[in-house]
Symmetry: C2
Subunit: 361 residues, 2 copies
Amino acid sequence: MAETPLRFGILGCANIARKVSRAMILSPNSTIVAIGSRSLEKAVEFAKENGFPASAKAYGSYDAVLDDPEVEAVYIPLPTSLHLKWAVLAAQKKKHLLLDKPVALNVKELDLILEACESSGVQFMDATMWMHHPRTVKMKEFLSDPQRFGLLKAVHSVFSYTGEPGFLEKDIRVNPELDALGALGDTGWYCIRAILWANNYELPNTITALPYPEFNKAGVILSCGASLSWEENHKTATFYCSFLTNLSMDITVLGTEGSLRVQDFVIPFQEQSAVYHENVNLKFAHLSIGCEPLPSEHVVATDLPQEARMVREFSSLVGVIKREGSKPEKKWPIISRKTQIIVDAVKESIDKGFVPVEIVY
Amino acid sequence: MAETPLRFGILGCANIARKVSRAMILSPNSTIVAIGSRSLEKAVEFAKENGFPASAKAYGSYDAVLDDPEVEAVYIPLPTSLHLKWAVLAAQKKKHLLLDKPVALNVKELDLILEACESSGVQFMDATMWMHHPRTVKMKEFLSDPQRFGLLKAVHSVFSYTGEPGFLEKDIRVNPELDALGALGDTGWYCIRAILWANNYELPNTITALPYPEFNKAGVILSCGASLSWEENHKTATFYCSFLTNLSMDITVLGTEGSLRVQDFVIPFQEQSAVYHENVNLKFAHLSIGCEPLPSEHVVATDLPQEARMVREFSSLVGVIKREGSKPEKKWPIISRKTQIIVDAVKESIDKGFVPVEIVY
């Protein structure tokens, strides 16, 4: 039996909503029924430009989307400062919630959102697309292999980009009223998620921000880094995130028996397939004049773009809730919350002068 | 006019001396005239096994090598604790000095060695082989290109390996009497050098070791990491070095316009040529459903193995001193000393509980 497609409403006409609208159209178990903007004209235009179904409604407010009984789920790509208000309202109106990252300005706000979702029995998921690429599954299989990868020892991740001209002057991501977390909330979110993902979402004991982050005049972070440390097994991780450095999207994971490298983890260089590299039991050759065996390249094809797989997964989880009256899948809010805990700790370490921040949980 | 080959003596039969002996034979401007070991038998055996010229002498002591007037230069692959004594003695006996890394247990010891070299007018170079690969030159050209790479923002480097079975029990590199710096002195040396190399040898302002390094029972470092930070231009670097993690040898250098990645910087996977990758002005494609242009792979062939190029460069510098009576090239002792300054600072940060250590210079 084919699932009834999940009926999405979208709050706002953010640029990223173009990509996610396309994903909703590509995904076989979802459809778009409404979009709301503070400007009705913008909403109408957006729906037209992005190939929305003819039946999709355009509204001149976000409230109208939430009040539309046809809307079962909402995607919220609004600036982070607006998440608390609109995510809580959406949950209260029983809309399942696909929320863009960073999900909140801090864990306290996120907890209010998650409580609202739990009270209403709606599914929560953050829109971290790479989590849904089949490459991510393959890479995790490798990291879980005791013979080929062994025990995890160290992770390094990077996400940086320089944005279009004018980005540093006017983008919402560098406006303290809209996205106070700056590069840490935007690009750092991915680095932190990658580190947690590699560590099976085990929180570190200590987080220390690196000295000399960059800020704009309004005090918004434009670049920063941090180290994460686990007392058990002496695991370590570092990351660097920036709006001032050419596009880079690396994860390097080192284990006792092998290592993994990927250079486009956030958005694969190409849409149809994505690559990663494994080193397995790499050793120096005789006399140490070379190494063997050579790293192996792994290409993972995908049936749908990763964002469409995200929409499909979200819609499928909501489908289960609708059909079986079950409770929402807990995995997604849990990993969002862990990611936010680290974001908060890095921010705290920066604010306090790069002191180590202990994670208490 | 062909150079007269530089006449090398070797102190000790360390494993690494097999590779460097081969390099001395491969290099067109050097030859081996003597090897000394505490055991004459071992020295004789070593010379035979490693294809030494029939005229090469085997001695039952290091002193005998230093007292041989035919020996113009010595290569010292002894454990680090012995460097001060034998390097100073070699310099005093007017032998040019190719000294394995880590060059000393600390800067104070290194300064005594460098002072002895300067007094005697002999050339000093540490045996950090990758510095001499033509790939290193090519990569530096890329990092110096304002259009393709831009300004440097961040570096990450890794060197780890797990050693042969028994390594952790009996290798000199984990014996506090012989190599008290452990993985920091051995593998960390390369990471630190890579970071300095990328930064044009500009010393950072602050160094902070990462929490939870690993030690053996004797207190020798088996794995550790650190961050290096430059106040000017907010540059940052991190590294991880280990004896407990599968072989990894990465440098990732991020700039405002491009980025560079190499995965075998210490010892290229293959001897004849070596690879690195450039990203130049990488951007998200339309709708951010991919990126362009794709990274480019660069293959750099080498006329000689990097260690033979190192020997050739060293011999050539000594040749200039011999022919022209000039002073030794200062570049090499200067970068050895800067590397040792960072090694010391990481050690100090670890010993003091991972506090930031300011570099005063």
